[in-house]
Point group: C2
Chain length 453, copies 2
């Protein structure tokens, strides 16, 4: 994560500071002794690192840990170290088909501020939508600052394809957008008065000029590494360097999967396929804790896997894609519900009718579950993942989707033995927004030297 | 690759010896100066490493390189260093549905000895088949020794699912095998008189006892690392330690993809999906030069991706799987050819009729190409690979499969722009056998200290 001129000593320090922060993030408040044991460092080395992180405003001290408590093993009671809740925060934004949402998440993964606006995105003008989004971002950033937090990055989840390492939405059929670069319209969003005064955000005081302009080295939301540089660069090219918050733009399904990995963990292994539905159906493949982005950034288009190759025409140009059977419009239509009204009301009506035993609704959900099962059977045969996670709008409907889905999976997977675990997301439709915001702040844990209190 | 007690110095030496060998493998015969430049090591360091590899019988000197030639840049003419053709060799074996094949490959990737036996494997007794295979392996090992080569490992490609990190064929429907462990039947195969005399093969003289029994750390054929240990261990458990050749067992599609990556390179990028057909249809997913094995080792079952979900019943228990449209039996039947005779004759007849313009044959191939295109469109939507490689029995039929396959791919991939490159394998049906043999010898390049001349 260093500039090319960075010294090995500085790199080692950066790496060890990051290891301390990730260890605290994973195991919660803990003592210096527990950290030393966990990281295989001397108590002295850990104390030095911790002091630097306390001074830098990334760690905070919290009362005392009980002997042997909080992962500490035997030893004297000590001060518990926790991630700060008054330091950096990530701003996450979601461009939905019928709403815009923004939130601020602190390094602990907790939502500290949020705003939402109903906004019809279908065949919308990006200029109008992005201006609205910008207002929301500024509002949430203001709230976050009032809580003592400092926004360090903005990450935007979009229902479409984003070219790898860019901030350009190549195609978002449900918005009617194509080749839309978000960097210009969002340059400076959320930066606030502090940025106006010229204080750099997201670049440490001692960072060399080279660090600001490092070339992209791949995807923008890998769990580890400096892979958001691409977004940083494009956003900075639009704003003036050191003012605008660095920008990350990614597909909502990718952020949804990362949220699952980071924020709903314990329930989800490190190899899984995350299926998320808003109006469209997307997926993300996570292998050994890393998102598979694909050569161009277009992996995970589960919604366009052919289910009945001679079926209805799809927006993608194909026929009989999964979305034609399990997408929201197909599902509402099959259940006899309106598809042109407010989405939340329609989905609530769908759940209520299913819960009430309405046959037509149950049949529609069974057909959707069957189609999901067929597409996922192919996925499992190809990838042999440890788990499948149902997220987004599918999560609350899981009760009625799962029986058919599981039947198809069992009947169509070539490998013997137990098929992958089916997990229903605990984050549901919130996943992409939370994942975006946490991706934005998590980079401070990856590179603590980029943050200056 | 070291035992737990190995010193850092020994590890560094091991790593640098391996880097030298891989550099020579990649760029062909070259000078010490060229190696030093390429590896960023001093001329002296390279000379020391090269001397050790010459003494150890892994490198050989070959005449002189021209000034500036063979990747050397400007400089004096020097002795060209090449991988030995009289040192270690890998034994590869293939259990086909109608044949058994074995070959020996030297570190240069060249086949030095081979044997093949027509042998009907359909619903066969593993004991009988493996006894025949063992005879072939012994014969090829004998030939290899006569050429001054020393077999270091045996790798077996099977048309079925192999549990990750084991030598057990969990299910091979076209052989009628299930839960068949190959280690017992093949223990000692190819080891020869040399092994009888108690000379360890595949373990260096200075290796500690711990190195012989290292636990498995994952898949058995990764490009780098000591990931064949699982096979080693199971084979050694059967034979007596130091006598039997270490054994690797893997799916034929995996070895086919590795052959493409290692032996047909320049044509194939490091992110691709390799489709290979024998009687069944398999695939392997390669990401950043690494094989995706899947949680249980069962990734790549493209043949069982649903194409027409209500289609004919498949051996896997599903319906309308790709194999039901593009598998060999389906293809021959659709073309009006016998499916119970010799495979080679039937496939030759198929090609000849297609070349002669026979309508029924052309239609059968178009239907198979369409089904392949539908299944691969789903694959591309999920994984966004850089290329698709057609291998195995599909390669010689590519002329007649590709038009329909490309049409489906174009029409059904959600992402805009250029779809992945379609590459026809230059190795064809030889791929799995060559990949197995090279996987077996390549481990010496990964860990030169494991080999003793």
């Amino acid at each position: 994560m260093a500039g090319q001129g960075a010294s090995p000593q500085r790199e080692m320090r950066r790496r060890n500071l990051s290891r301390v922060l990730h260890a605290v993030a994973e195991q919660g408040p803990c003592s210096r002794a527990a950290l030393a044991t966990r990281l295989g460092l001397t108590r002295t080395a850990v104390s030095t690192l911790v002091e630097e992180l306390l001074r830098g405003g990334l760690l905070a001290e919290e009362g005392t840990t009980p002997p042997g408590g909080a992962g500490g093993g035997p030893g004297r009671p000590g001060t518990a170290l926790a991630l700060t809740d008054r330091g950096p925060c990530g701003l996450g934004a979601e461009i939905g088909v019928d709403h815009l949402a923004v939130c601020a998440v602190d390094p602990r993964g907790e939502v500290r501020a949020r705003a939402r606006l109903e906004s019809d995105g279908r065949n919308s003008d990006p200029v109008v939508v992005l201006a609205r989004l910008r207002t929301l971002v500024d509002e949430v950033a203001r709230q976050a600052r009032e809580l003592g937090l400092r926004p360090v990055r903005l990450a935007v989840a979009v229902p479409g394809l984003v070219a790898r390492g860019t901030s350009t939405v190549v195609r978002a059929p449900n918005l009617g957008w194509h080749d839309t670069d978000l960097a210009g319209a969002l340059a400076g969003a959320g930066a606030g008065a502090e940025a106006e005064a010229g204080v750099g955000v997201g670049v440490g005081a001692s960072a060399s000029a080279g660090e600001r302009g490092l070339p992209a080295d791949g995807g923008s939301t890998r769990v580890k590494g400096n892979s958001t540089r691409a977004g940083d660069r494009s956003a900075r090219a639009e704003g003036s360097a050191g003012r605008a918050l660095p920008l990350i733009v990614d597909n909502e399904a990718n952020f949804g999967a990362l949220a699952e990995l980071w924020l709903d963990s314990g329930r989800v292994p490190r190899d899984f396929v995350h299926v998320s539905a808003e109006v469209g159906i997307g997926a993300a493949v996570v292998l050994s804790g890393e998102l598979l982005r694909g050569t161009r950034g277009f992996a995970g288009e589960l919604g366009h896997v052919p289910v009945h190759p001679d079926g209805p025409r799809c927006v993608c140009g194909g026929r009989g894609c999964l979305e034609q059977y399990a997408g929201e419009v197909a599902l509402l239509r099959a259940a006899g519900l309106r598809t042109d009204g407010p989405r939340d009301a329609a989905l609530t009506a769908l759940s209520e009718r299913a819960a009430g035993g309405d046959t037509r609704t149950r049949d529609a959900l069974e057909e959707a579950g069957t189609a999901l099962g067929i597409a996922l059977a192919g996925t499992v045969n190809l990838l042999d993942p440890r788990a499948l996670v149902l997220g987004g709008a599918l999560a609350p409907l899981a009760n009625w989707l799962l029986p058919a889905l599981e039947r198809e999976l069992r009947g169509r997977t070539a490998a013997p033995g137990v098929p992958p675990a089916l997990v229903v997301s605990g984050l549901g439709a919130e996943g992409p927004l939370l994942g975006a915001a946490y991706a934005a702040v998590r980079l401070v844990l990856d590179d603590p030297l980029s943050y200056q209190a």
